[in-house]
Amino acid sequence: MKGALLVLPLAGCVILPRALEQPPNDQTTVALLTGTLGAPLNDIARHPWFAVRRKGEIGWQVYEVGGGGATESDPFHKHYPYENPILHEVWRGDAAEKAADCLEREAPEWIAKLDYRFYPGPNSNTFGDAMLRTCDLHASLPSTSVGKDWRGLIGGGVTSEGTGLQLETPIVGFKIGLKEGVELHILGLSIGVDLWPPAIILPLGPGRLGFADR
């Protein structure tokens, strides 16, 4: 009962989130961000995009499903129509160069083949997770990125974070790993415990209750 009372005010709290600051353009940068969908889905569904800026350039090339292609000046703060952006990971230097090449090569092809389905997937979050794995970018999408774990009727493999395994069906699935912790997926909704940084994984708000994912 006490635990239940505690969760209410804490719902949606993430400790030490990444600042939405653009790194300098002295190196190539790739950033993974997500933003909320419009109301009334704003608390339960997020959409990802990759922002890529080559060394010395000013604008950001955005890769996502249902948009992208154009150069944006600040996809960290404003990426219409998505709101409340969260910066999940930033890659710089050589790693970012490789990631930028990979996204440039793989993303348009993946999107062209996409047979989009809003729920349970494949959708924009499936794209985000697929690009993370394809381009060897070690990060995780938040649990409110519904569709990130879509693998068809049955599928699995190494997680996008790279330190765990997952097995998925549209009804139920799970993820277990050193950094990922334990995550149970029921009808695309994720609950679990993230081991590092520590947090409870919830299918609501920013997707976790605890420390921000880094």
Binding site: M1, G3, A4, L5, V7, L8, A11, G38, A39, P40, L41, N42, D43, I44, I186, L187, L189, I191, L202, P203, L204
Partner: protein
């Protein structure tokens, strides 16, 4: 010649059938609601007792967290077919027994009122139990759900469920206050949030808090439920407008052009 007539009849029939389906599809309206819930319940009154000699299966408390996803679909502005799925996992905290409560409602009916209010009935199958304290039972729940929108910020959430149990002798006729079912589960809550009418689609979301009551395995439990709820639906007026486009025979009405005023 015969073949030509058969083909013609089949074509006409299939076209008419397709038209009917298209009209029905045009008139369909639906909606859904999703609850995330966390319930903490405490035993009140007499302790639970199992049947076996010296067997002590008291569940002092029960904490369950889960989701309820329900939807409805119909070709009528007020009455729709209703299905749902409830999934909750948790523990009997003091006894540290893993607990679960699952239910699938494949059959149900729902009545819509106002823009977003609903009263739904559902029947289905499920399972409920807790390791070491509450015997596992195959359940046949019958549930009534009522959600009433009040203004643009408040929504009353309520449900009452009676359950008929199988495979658990200790949980037969195990609700002290009712005789017609084995167990009882109810919740009454208040959601504070927002109502949206974007593009004419009524919807809303918000956090809620409620009181939970359960008669389970021969005892009574009382507790608190907190959660998040979202509801969205197609506008009821949409159906009325669609129906105005068709006559009683299902043919599209001719539009009457208003004479120009200029």
């Amino acid at each position: 010649m015969k073949r030509a007539i058969v083909v013609l009849v089949v074509c006409v029939a299939s076209t008419a059938h397709a038209d009917r389906w298209r009209r029905a599809r045009d008139r369909w309206q639906g909606g859904a609601w999703l609850h995330y819930e966390l319930s903490g319940m405490q035993r009140v009154g007499d302790p639970f007792e199992c049947d076996g000699p010296g067997e002590d299966c008291v569940a002092e408390d029960l904490v369950l967290a889960g989701a309820r996803l329900h939807g409805f679909l119909g070709a009528n502005a007020s009455i729709a077919y209703h299905i749902g799925m409830d999934i909750a996992l948790g523990s009997t905290v003091r006894d540290a027994g893993f607990a679960y409560d699952l239910a699938l409602f494949p059959v149900g009916i729902l009545v819509r009122a106002g823009k977003t209010s609903i009263v739904g009935f559902g029947a289905g199958i499920g399972g409920m139990g807790a390791v070491g304290t509450i015997d596992d039972a195959l359940t046949f729940p019958v549930e009534m759900t009522a959600e009433i929108g009040i203004g643009r910020r408040v929504r009353v959430l309520s449900r009452a469920r009676v359950t008929y149990n199988a495979l658990a002798p200790t949980r037969q006729s195990a609700a002290p206050s009712i005789a017609f079912a084995d167990e009882l589960d109810a919740m009454l809550g208040l959601r504070i949030g927002r109502y949206y009418d974007d593009y004419g689609f009524p919807s809303g979301n918000g956090y809620f808090v409620g009181v939970s009551y359960r008669e389970l395995a021969g005892g009574r439990m009382l507790g608190l439920t907190i959660g998040y709820s979202i509801d969205l639906a197609m506008p009821r007026r949409w159906v009325a407008e669609r129906e105005a486009e068709y006559d009683d025979r299902g043919r599209r009405r001719r539009r009457v052009r208003m004479p120009s005023t200029q």
